[in-house]
Symmetry: C3
Subunit: 442 residues, 3 copies
Amino acid sequence: MLTSASKIEPMKALDSRFTERSKATPGIPSAISSTDAKAKEDTSSDSEDKMAAINKNLAFAKRKPELLLDGGEVVEKRKKGRPRKDKMAASVPQAAAPPPAAAVLRLPTPSLQKTFSLQVSMDPSVFLEVENDVSVVAGSKLSQLRCSRDGRDWNTLLPSSVLAAAGSSDVLAVACDDRMLSVFSCSGRRLLPAIQLATPVSALHCSAHFVMVLTAGATLSVWDAQRQKALVKNESLQTIFSGAETTVSLSLLTQQGVPIIGLSNGKSFCFSLSLETWTLIADKGDSLVQCADFRSCLPSQDAAASSGPLAVVQGRNLNAGRLASRLSSTPHHLQQSMTLAFLENQLASALTLQSAQEYRYWLLIYARFLVNEGSEHRLRELCKELLGPVHKSAASSWQPATLVGLHKRELLREVLPVIGENLRFQRLFTEYQDQLELLRTK
Amino acid sequence: MLTSASKIEPMKALDSRFTERSKATPGIPSAISSTDAKAKEDTSSDSEDKMAAINKNLAFAKRKPELLLDGGEVVEKRKKGRPRKDKMAASVPQAAAPPPAAAVLRLPTPSLQKTFSLQVSMDPSVFLEVENDVSVVAGSKLSQLRCSRDGRDWNTLLPSSVLAAAGSSDVLAVACDDRMLSVFSCSGRRLLPAIQLATPVSALHCSAHFVMVLTAGATLSVWDAQRQKALVKNESLQTIFSGAETTVSLSLLTQQGVPIIGLSNGKSFCFSLSLETWTLIADKGDSLVQCADFRSCLPSQDAAASSGPLAVVQGRNLNAGRLASRLSSTPHHLQQSMTLAFLENQLASALTLQSAQEYRYWLLIYARFLVNEGSEHRLRELCKELLGPVHKSAASSWQPATLVGLHKRELLREVLPVIGENLRFQRLFTEYQDQLELLRTK
Amino acid sequence: MLTSASKIEPMKALDSRFTERSKATPGIPSAISSTDAKAKEDTSSDSEDKMAAINKNLAFAKRKPELLLDGGEVVEKRKKGRPRKDKMAASVPQAAAPPPAAAVLRLPTPSLQKTFSLQVSMDPSVFLEVENDVSVVAGSKLSQLRCSRDGRDWNTLLPSSVLAAAGSSDVLAVACDDRMLSVFSCSGRRLLPAIQLATPVSALHCSAHFVMVLTAGATLSVWDAQRQKALVKNESLQTIFSGAETTVSLSLLTQQGVPIIGLSNGKSFCFSLSLETWTLIADKGDSLVQCADFRSCLPSQDAAASSGPLAVVQGRNLNAGRLASRLSSTPHHLQQSMTLAFLENQLASALTLQSAQEYRYWLLIYARFLVNEGSEHRLRELCKELLGPVHKSAASSWQPATLVGLHKRELLREVLPVIGENLRFQRLFTEYQDQLELLRTK
């Protein structure tokens, strides 16, 4: 419907409800926390570009976020004496259930708002506005979702109040009070049938054509709205919670549809879509990370620093060997082993996150480290895996591409020069260079 | 084994145990209810044809069903002073557990019968007969399943009493007292290994080569017996139950293997095989349905009325805008929005149900509605989606067929004449007509 | 890293911790039991060859196993006055939680060891050695995993103590105290990101490139480390446990990645990867098995006796009709039915286990039985299914290959001679022989 009567004003009232969760009210555990420091960190120019690739939900308790990121665009929140926020604090939030038994994990739910709006995409420019209880028809309250896309408006009605809304340049999702989740294209078409959630929504994210829901019952689901498929199905967060005080500090959905959860204990997990399991990708309390020493292996230009979901969750803490200097007493072989284990973990994590750019970044550091340490055996292993079988055989299970869509032989081409830099490995270099040439001419 | 000694007599004793659940006995919640009105409705001639496509389980408490539908054929139950029924009432049924805690959902289980039979298919004509405890061998009781198909008999033995049996023209399934589920082809071959259920069976359905089990623990599973694959795996009904008094009033399995559950609160859900989630497809208490006004958009011949699983669960209540006349005071744009939301829901539901005929039916009503309301923007959206990209590009994610196997461009061909009826959209009509021609000649 | 300083000594101290579980200590239920008789049985020469195909975990309580099988190779354990064992008995094992509530299923966990080693493959020769708390760096304890493969050593560090380790000729897996599971290639490359388990490990197996984990929370998972895919995902064993006293006596992972669990009540289940459900494949208490009489249908040479996972779990108890002679009073048709049901179960089980050799073995016995009993109808059914459609048609759902990779028409070629032996079925024989020829020439 083309309604021109009342156009959505972009900056009218950017509600922080979408990002603020669980105002700490007496008796209700604050399940989300964060730090301003991190917020500042994530706004540096490098990561901003890359965060255009990441849909993020930074949750702040008791703080006014200076920057609100959603769908990867930075939107400034104007502090205009925000009456709505007071109303939020005053009203009884629809928070978690009464103090749960130790075994029952509950995440907070957003409080119900009369109206709110948010910008979900910059290019194209897409704004959402929700107005709850806009009308009563035949005894039922109806709520309205309005969307403005490149100046074109459309709206739709929903039979229940909207608790949370999210969007990307492709899709919009709204989660209602009746625990129904609705997904629309940015042009207004309903993409999926209304999905019944088991418990109320806690967090909602969209990235590309993926939709992620975190429920109050601490389950995670991700759908591919385009292919109408479930990627992650009701995964309980119980597995990754270590204790009653642990809370969710961060939830992300990458452009590849990989969900990431950051906990208050410093650990960040992503859910591997293929292994169907939680994998640890960052741990601020992990000594291996702090002790790993690969300073001599970083790429020359610092501008090409790794950025992507892995970098975002690991933070700038990841200084190569910050503690390394303190470990001068540690036997060399031990330091080697720790660094090696760390680098291999980075590769595995980048793969799970389907972050191609970061996988290549860490692969080159890994190769340089092996060269510096003289690890011919592992270098051979690596080259052999990247090259694959020279003669195609039916029994071979070698996959020419990695799970992130990079071609293994292309990676080998990038790795070989690193190997060639060291005279010690000239023979290895030549051996694989020749085989690559052979395959190219085939 | 060809046993001709005792042929199964088709109409001998058609047991209602298969359809009657949970005789209301003191202390045990009656989990299934229904209405005669609905039964009558579903026996109208239109829906009978279409219900040949639906395997249905109408459960009646305290009533004598006049018609027993299974596998889509109508079978008359002769009231012959049914001693077995008395025996059922008198015996302690193997019903649900003692009054469960609020959180534990339990569905009733069939009571154990000495013998019962049912017709599961009309063309070809297939009858099942179960005789429990037919023999004792080496201290173990054996039960017998006999099947008569087009006059040919076969039988098999099972190590445990059979609680429930179901079948289609392709497969038979029996659920036993030891919680094992066995599936056979109608010719007598065991199709699947014995499947261990977690809790006793509550309801059992077969449709085409699909088998559906609803367990006492309120979980739903569906298998494709042909491909030996699980389509739905232990889905808990907890998600769709709204309160302690809600009960299951209907369970269906469509010819595409899509399971449908109807609840006593008027809501019907189906489980989307791709989204792996429950989706609401009918809600008798939904005002949107009653207020939607598309009377002017229905196809001319009423004989071509929509019929299929969606029509079955929504019932004949779905008069286009029955309440619409009462809403003369409702602003036009509001009525428009409600109707539009309703129609888009119908499309989404038909897709989830994989009901091609109903998808096309509602698509044409939708198109007519958009034309009548002058919604050029949405019409363009629709045409654009149905046409797809004119030039094939690798990056395109456009699928030429919908999820129900219809070709989008064929649907466009059917929609265009509807658009062309209105002079206002001549330009749109011509534009897409030309593009279709272009693609046809390519 | 090439560490030559301390090579792993192959036979130094083969720890039985990997196979011994749950030393019966007061207050802790012994969850694993076994019999020496079975152990002896499994060490006969026939099954040894076939067990090279099976990764097995025979658990012994209070007994010294004479043979330790892992990865299919027989390794002799030298009894050298095993101090470590005493240490195990004395230390408080990290066993199951305090006596669980009736509904909570718990499996025991291995006790923490300072160091242990095991051989996981004979050809190539692969040894693992774990040393926990090998070093403390920056306040964190590190543990070391060392692997010796064909004389080449590599090692890696882990941030947590290793509770269990397992391997095959392709992969190694370690489960740590922090509930993380790590999987490496035998050459030392980390294959998967660290996987977070919900509860501590109870049993760990590797076979080919598959990894199986049984957790203390009684859930089962299996991953394909090569394709980085989950085959079985957190399947609860609750479904197959029949009572509080039931315990796990056996856990296996076949070369096809099919997991098998044997319970103390004599039942063995495998998890069907496609049906995503537990299926009963052996039941020592099942009368059908004991009564089935197919002695006349066995293949002539006993050396070609069936061996494979099905034979292993069913044990040598499976004498064709051991009790059959005692059933001379049983009506013939009843015995026929029982035997038929049994043979069809064997076929279904072999399919689920993806055990091609055993499927063919039982198919021929089945065919011979049908011939001996004169069951023309079922023989025709069988031939028809194996032949498939003569004219390819799009609508046909016939699959040319069975689920175990055998070609149905090849099987038909093997079955036909069996049919042809009986003059009574000459017509059937000729009919299908001709059709096979026709298809061959096409």
